[in-house]
């Protein structure tokens, strides 16, 4: 295996680890706001690391651009949708969970 292969492998495994942590957070966190945190982070870091891992093995420049676009579009969608859900929840009067509340 070349250095690029190893670097790609490390990035892919790290990306998968962040997706795992994000999913655990989505299941364990207590309210809508904290769960949105877990989702946004999986999109940004998990997908980001996977995309950069795959970039190292991209067979053509066109494919590399496509991969980067996938990440950028996912980031834009994730940030916008996360904000809209959080704002809607707040305007509906959903109080954020606080330390000490029942889980």
């Amino acid at each position: 295996m070349t250095i690029a292969d190893w670097a790609s492998l490390v990035l892919l495994v790290a990306g998968a680890a962040f997706f795992f942590a994000g999913t655990v957070g989505l299941l364990r966190f207590p309210d809508v706001y904290t769960r949105l945190h877990a989702l946004a982070k999986a999109d940004n870091l998990g997908l980001g690391l996977v995309v950069f891992g795959l970039l190292l093995k991209a067979p053509s420049a066109a494919l590399a651009i496509k991969l980067l676009l996938v990440w950028l579009l996912a980031l834009a969608a994730s940030a916008t949708v996360g904000f809209l859900i959080a704002r809607r929840a707040r305007r509906h009067g959903i109080e954020p969970w606080r330390a000490g509340d029942a889980e």
Binding site: A21, R28, H37, A38, K41, A62, L63, F83, R90
Partner: protein, 165 residues
Amino acid sequence: MKITLAAVRAFLWRGTLFALLWWALTDGRPGSWAVGSVAVAFASAASLRLLPPVPTHVSRIGLLRFLVFFVHQSLRGGVQVAWFALRPRLALSPAIHEVGLRLPAGISRVLLANTMSLLPGTLSVELQGDRLCLHVLDASAPTETEVRTAETRLAQMLGLTLDTR
């Protein structure tokens, strides 16, 4: 729309980007350009209608510094939040913080709200005028400092001046 030098420049610049996008999506297949050139022309025209050229100048060094800041903050905060999710006892101390923005009104404030949502540990929940409401996972984290840094980086990238009162 009046045809100005700025509009022509924006049309050519955006057309180049759309052409690059078409090239990437079709893997550079030569036969695709019969449809592609029409699509690129319409996309450029539509983009000028929807977002008229604004006299902002995106600084390349500023963009690079912003990317370095974004990746660095993401990794640092990401490890922390992943640890929050995975540790056996949930030890969150969420809170809502409100921060006054120094960026001028417009798209830069939306960019800041989105940046804060993507950075681990903070989530934008409301943007009204120059007030940004953030939900944070850790109430003791220096949220305002983080917003200020992101603001400064964004302003440098877009060539804007911050309103320091």
